[in-house]
């Protein structure tokens, strides 16, 4: 597990130094604040989907949940609802969405891909329909604005609010995964679902919990993105974000086959994805190449990871055989 983090950390440090060397303003406080902000936003989504991926599932609806929450928040403000109440309701709604996904997958036995793909379509459609597809903003909610997108000043350096959300989420997630029996069960379930069930683990309940966590964090991201951008386009906000979240989780060491993953890895991977975009812009590489570069880096990262894992395994087997002789 530790080795996964080393690989991605090496990649992060390499790109970081590379960019800092070739672009002077890269290390400016302003740029670092932005990098931390965007990385935190992506990491929160990534941690959510990591839970689902550890169980061997997938969640394609993250971007649409983000869009739905951001749209409904704007709508609630427009309708004169109490904004704090709206925040609580929307986080509750996200939990509900996760619960529905979990129930459909475990009780009705539908495939996660299908359930969340339909979610992707349904929530996007509802967002557009409920808002008449109007671009909206978040007027008169300054307190929430500073909560979700404010800055905590450390001298002249402003730590962006999403970072604090990420820290809380990451610590809770890491404790859950590594320090509780539930976390152990979750890995066991991802590695071998039948085996886990036969040894008495309530696999259904665990899976539901994973989807609830994922949708909840998507909902939270929705609020953070909403206030970061001060604007929502119901047809566009959050579109394709699930793919970035999944990419962060996979690059961070989660296996789509389930049973593997670390929170720290996901956070660093999310930072790598944002860092890549940042350095592409700063180094003046054509923005049209951006997707290609991100795709190639993720592919190379995951491929290197897989190859090294195999080499290590072979070496271990060799050592065991030699020892026996």
């Amino acid at each position: 597990m530790k080795k996964n983090i080393l690989g991605i950390l090496g990649l992060f440090i390499f790109i970081f130094i590379f960019t800092a060397y070739y672009s002077e303003p890269f290390l400016s406080a302003y740029n670092m604040q932005n990098l931390i902000k965007w990385s935190s936003l992506y990491a929160i989504m990534g941690i959510g989907v990591a839970f689902v991926i550890i169980t061997g599932g997938i969640d394609l609806s993250i971007g649409s949940v983000i869009g739905l929450v951001a749209s409904l928040m704007a709508l609630a403000i427009k309708k004169g609802w109490d904004p704090n109440f709206a925040v609580v309701m929307l986080l509750g709604l996200s939990l509900g969405i996760g619960l529905i996904h979990g129930l459909l997958i475990t009780k009705v036995k539908l495939q996660p891909f299908v359930v969340t793909l339909c979610g992707l379509l349904v929530y996007r459609g509802i967002s557009r329909w409920m808002t008449d597809n109007q671009t909206m903003q978040y007027p008169g909610t300054d307190k929430l604005d500073s909560l979700f997108s404010g800055k905590v000043l450390m001298g002249s350096f402003g730590l962006p609010a999403p970072l604090f959300f990420l820290i809380v989420v990451a610590i809770l997630a890491a404790i859950f995964l590594n320090r509780t029996i539930w976390g152990r069960y979750l890995f066991a379930l991802g590695n071998n679902e039948d085996g886990a069930r036969y040894s008495g683990i309530e696999t259904d309940r665990l899976k539901i919990v994973a989807y609830v966590i994922c949708s909840f964090l998507a909902g939270l991201s929705g609020l953070l993105f909403a206030y970061e951008l001060d604007s929502v386009q119901p047809a566009q906000t959050g579109e394709f974000y699930e793919l970035y979240a999944i990419a962060a989780a996979v690059l961070g060491g989660c296996s789509l086959r389930g049973g593997q993953g670390t929170i720290l890895g996901v956070i660093i991977a999310a930072a790598v994805i944002r860092l890549l975009r940042n350095s592409i812009n700063l180094l003046g590489i054509s923005t049209h190449l951006e997707y290609a570069i991100i795709g190639m880096v993720i592919l190379c990262g995951v491929a290197a990871d897989e190859i090294i894992k195999r080499v290590m395994a072979r070496r271990r087997t060799a050592q065991v055989t030699t020892a026996r002789k």
Binding site: K3, L6, G7, I8, G10, L11, F14, I15, F18, S23, P25, F26, S28, Y30, N31, N34, W38, R128, N133, Q134, T135, Q137, Y138, F225, E228, L229, D230, S231, V232, Q233, A235, Q236, T237, E239, F240, R277, N278, I280, N281, L282, L283, G284, I285, S286, T287, H288, L289, E290, Y291, I293, M296, V297, C300, G301, A303, A304, D305, I307, I308, V311
Partner: protein, 351 residues
Amino acid sequence: MIKKLTMMAAAAAVFAAGCGKPSDGDGATEGGGAKPKHKIAYVTNGIDPFWDLCAAGVKQAENELGGVECEIHFPPKGLADQKSILETLLTKGIKGIAVSPIDADGQTKFLNEVASETVLITHDADAPKSNRQVYVGTDNYKAGRALGQLVKEAIPDGGEVMIFVGRLEQLNARQRRQGVIDELLDRPHQVLGQVKFDEVAKVFKGDKYTVLDTRTDNFVMDTAKSNAEDAITKHKDLACMVGLFAYNPPRCLAAIREAGKLGQIKVCGFDEDDDLLQAIKDGHAQGTISQQPWKYGYNSVKVLKAILDGDTSVIPANKFIDVGFKVVTSKNIEAFWSEKRKMAALGAKKD
């Protein structure tokens, strides 16, 4: 360790591939010894052939005016990308930025932050409440009225007209649509900035012309086409289809062609899609209103350069520089198309 090295090698390879080619806007070479060039950036609201034409104007201005070095950015996915691009530009210490804001109201606060760091102007779409220095754009209401004139020429005896557009959330789309409706119903001219908008779902009956409900497609190409098909199916007496965004008229033409009603249902459009230009040439479409996108790019660079050189006289009192529009019909199609081809080639050129 091996793993780390492998990863580094992989990343280095990708970066080398990326760095080998200079970016779209960074091609300009440093003027040796002369006055340092102003570094400015042109930021669009997305990726579209329209923006390539604007980029052509930027490059043209960069070459002709001298003294400026331009970079051009196309945010691939909406507002979040546009914001992080602008942040990066500030990080780089850019001297001037021309941006087409995606949501003027929501972005005002951020645009003011940008404006406090650098010279900021808007193009294509305005953010009137922000501290931008000036707006380079078109009077879309007037352009809409001109489009209405084209419809009148296409069906002088009157008839049913239907409008197709990507989104009506955008101010320019609403202004264009209102211009068309007002012209067809012979209403008095409205002033840009105070235009009153009619309901979308309503049908408007004038003496000669009936404007049916407006269909939107959210930039989904197949929806744009099926909207046109459904309109032909639903309205047997449809006389003219009006497409307000570049891709709408070609979708209308495709639907008309497949319905076997080419020439029977007239088409009037906006912008300068090649399919539409071909149809104008062939007599299947009446004409189009071109904003001459390259003028956006050209004028944005020109204004930014002037402001950076200390000449603020380029900023009019109302902070609006109208680049105007061109009415293209079978009479001037050849000359217009060859100019467009020239600009498209320049815009697509990797330097």
